[in-house]
């Protein structure tokens, strides 16, 4: 059974009288432990799709099944609880609380849930090790570099062991080297923690870390490319770039 399933998703914005169809019938499934990248040019609806998948916004029509529940039909409050327990978010801007330390930021979802963060010691240690911030755990966000802040954000997204981790351009605000490290981190959380990951990006290098790439254009899926599990990074990247060129030519 897939972790996440989108069925004929449509999203329509009303902008000063005229309508914008941001998504026009999206269908796809994500299996547990899968790493999916969503690619497409700016304005193609990537962010919109991600927001719908995470229950931040509701679709104009269509259904999203996440961990057995239809998100489209949930009340605001229920959707919040689904987010709390089943979704982890990572954004382009790191969105950390400036008043909390790295460790506290990571534990925030647990605290919001009213749980005792001391019971999450092991999980915290594991995550700190994963993101490599053991010795920076007590630093405040403004004492951390951009890459480090993004790693804190990833750890925070992972702390509740969500069914799915959603990342919107997680490398968009970072230099190439740091961005690579972040993508590697997502890859590792997928491999080591069997974490399901969906990452939005318009960077082919970043997308090359994924098992499957979904190409979006004008609100529709125009192509899907599933990598061979044996395929090395180089050929994968090349494959993606080729696909992009083909789509561009159409």
């Amino acid at each position: 059974m897939p972790v996440l399933e989108a069925k004929d998703l449509r999203k329509e914005y009303k902008l000063g009288g005229h309508r914008v169809n941001a998504l026009e019938g999206i269908n796809f499934q994500v299996e547990k432990g899968e790493f999916v990248a969503i690619m497409g040019p700016s304005g193609s609806g990537k962010s919109t799709l991600l927001h719908l998948l995470g229950g931040l916004d509701s679709p104009s029509s269509g259904g999203i099944t996440l961990a057995g529940q239809n998100l489209a039909r949930l009340s605001e409050h229920k959707a919040t609880l689904v987010r709390r327990h089943n979704v982890g978010f990572v954004f382009q801007f790191f969105n950390l609380l400036p008043t909390l330390s790295a460790e506290e930021n990571i534990l925030l979802p647990v605290i919001i849930d009213g749980k005792d963060p001391r019971k999450y010691k092991e999980r915290l240690a594991r995550l700190l090790e994963l993101v490599g911030l053991q010795d920076r755990r007590h630093h405040k966000p403004d004492q951390l570099s951009g890459g480090e802040q993004q790693r804190v954000a990833i750890a925070r997204a992972l702390v509740t062991e969500p069914a799915i981790l959603l990342a919107d351009e997680p490398t968009g605000n970072l230099d190439t080297k740091t961005g690579t490290a972040i993508m590697e981190l997502l890859r590792r959380s997928c491999d080591e923690l069997q974490q399901t990951v969906i990452a939005v990006t318009h960077d082919a290098r970043a997308a090359a870390y994924a098992d499957r790439v979904i190409f979006l254009r004008d609100g529709s899926i125009v192509h899907e490319r599933t990598a061979d599990s044996e395929e090395a990074f180089g050929p994968r990247l090349r494959g993606i770039l080729e696909t992009m060129e083909q789509l561009e030519a159409v």
């Binding site: 979704v87 609380l97 997204a157 605000n173």
Partner: protein, 862 residues
Amino acid sequence: MMRLTRMLTFRSIRARFPRFALSAFGIILGVAGLLAIRATNTAALNSIVTLFESTSGRAKLTLVTAEADQGSFSEEILQRVQTTPGVALANPLVIVRTDLADDRPAAGLNLGLFGTDAGGLALHGVVPSLETQTRAYTLTAGRFLEEKPKEYEIVLVEEYARDKELSLGDWVEILTPNGVRRLKLVGLIAREGPGQTNNGSFGVMPLDTAQELFNRARNLDQIDIVLVNPNPDTAELASLRANLQDEVGAKYSVVYPSGQGERMTQMLQNYQIGLNFMSGIALFVGAFLIYNAFAMTIVERTREFGMLRTIGMTQRQVVAQVFVEAGILGIFGSAAGVGLGVLLARGLTRLMEVIMNQGLGSVDFASPDILFSLILGLGVTLLAAGLPAWQAGRISPMEALRVRGKSREGWLIRYGWTLGALLLIGSVVLLVINPFPYDVQFRLGSLTVFGLFTGATLLIPVTVGVWERVTRPIMGWLYGASGSLGSRNVQRSRVRTTLTVAALMVGVAMVIMVRGMTESFASDLRVWMKAYLGGDIYVTSSVRMRSDIGRRIQEVEGVYAVAPIRYFDVKWQTPTGETESLNFMAVDVAAYTRVTNFVFSGQQVNCQFALQRIQQEGTVFISNVLAEKYDLGIGDALRLRTASGYRDFEIVGIVVDFYNQGMVVEGDWETMRRYFHIKDASTFLVKVQEGRSAPQVQNEIDMLYGERYHLTLESNESVRGRALNLMDQAFRMFDVMALISIVVGSLGVVNTLTMSVIERTREIGMLRAIGTTRGQIVRMVLAEAALMGAIGGILGLGTGVVLARILFIGMTTMSGYQLTFTLPPEGVAFSLVMALVVSQIAAIPPAIRAARTRILEAVQYE
């Protein structure tokens, strides 16, 4: 919940502590004001009640003469009272007011404005055995009076004796109509119970002695009546009183001793109304500041709340966090407010003592009062934080993903103006049409205050554009190109502009209201006082002055005219048929008009004619206060009790007179002589011939007659100075409150402008990058503030005038003072200039902050 609170709320407070403290400031002041006023009121009321209760002792009824002339009556009636059923004891008293011989009294100025006459030494002639059964004296030294002493004896209040350096066994020299007499000080009593009479300047001597020394022959001033049943209920007491009244006949009045306290209680009310109103507004300003601070915090934390929502925080959790913050603020603010209130109450009590000429004793803070203030403070805080909390809850997770600087303009901005217009129109209609009786209106008045402020506030956002376009050229001219840029910024976040403008508006409105009220009240008072204290020299005495003293003064070299004045109490029948007390001010009209003049009120057509009429038989003037309160006019009849029973007097003029709270009628000397059989004077107003030096003439009179007649002379200038000083003290409290609201308003400006600068960090950095100088940036922020100051000033002016009207209605209702609202044009100019200046000063810190923006950092900012 607790952990979350610790992490989010506590840290947020710490991160924004100045703002937190600032908003606490508002609530502290509101709570403090409220508590202090409550406590002071209670203390004042209590002290008056206990004063009259303890000084009247066990006496439940008092018999006094019903005749208006000298006040004393024959002893004969004592027997009749004593034998009336239900009476346990009839205690005869002679009451005199005098002074120590070597103690020339301080000029006994009694404006009768705020309190009863005090000063001098009050002495009671008593029958010791009966007196001690009526009142409980606390003897601190010596013994009480003997029944049949061999020498003249006296017992004084210990504190008074100590003040005058008198000790047990000394001979006390007092002034009597027959010269100085010596009495032996045989005992001292504590200043409690009866010892509080006349503020502790009090003593007792045997009845016979008093009658002898003060020419009372076998006359009494008062009989205190102790009843068989020590604690009768109201009905029983009333029927006993009626019986007694029947028994003694119409020549006497049987009254309740504490009745005298009622007037003072009423006097207090006037002042309280004003203060209560003010502290209500202080609380509103406090609430406003809190709303302001919370709204700002929410704007600032929008992304944070949005992010928290994305990671699973529910709306309810967000709202709860905001409320927790408000709760902490409310609890700390209210607690600090209670502390400050205790201090403030001390000051207020002192002021009240000055105004009432009456010691108040200690101020007690009843725990219900404290609790009430705490709960009110907390309640107002939570209420004020309610809307921002609700807004915080509605922040969608998507908000976290938006680029900073884009604040959402909610329905309040879009549709608020309709509500605002309705509120404003409603409030104004309520005030202009006056559909309700005065007292209902005043109560509604406090609601109208809220309606007015809220209405005006809601109208700000839709009008900002218009304001801005009108003033943009001015800002451009004043502050250069960056000035018009700043001016335009006002339109960018209308929420923020609204908050700042509203803060200024409330401050300016307070100043307008206070100034307007003080000005109107003080100018009326000044006009009256000038007439009331007309002439150049003011002559009084602690013993009664015969009219011929006036003639003698008249003959002194350099005296132009001498006007005798006599005040006395008179009973009158109100139009509703009740019997009440009034003060009769008798003047020798011919002499009086040579020295000073009556201030005729309102649409008096012919002063000359009125002055002729008053000298005719059976005519009086009444005060504007009486006219207003009882709806009396020229030609109406006023029913006064004369020496030979009730008689109607024709009202021939209405004059401005605040003496005795305005409960005063004026009549000619002849009228007094004929109808009230009074011949002596309370005061002489002396006018000096032109070209003569008043101090010299004053010296002359003092040398010739000062000693002989125990006169006290004071130049009118100094009397007036003291009176005005007294008034100023009373008004200073209001000024302090107005000042506070201006400070609070300016803190609001600092708050919102700083926010605006922080939000625009990136933009300011960009402006700097493309070559805007620091000075230009500063001017830009100043221009923005100036525009907001202008809008706030104009709106504050409008609301202030309306508020002053509400307050005036309240004053008129309660006291009968018909005040005309006068707001001098310089007052208008002043408040507008002040709003601008305050906005500029408040804008300096944020402007400097903006100028210091580091370009690279700002451009890289996210």
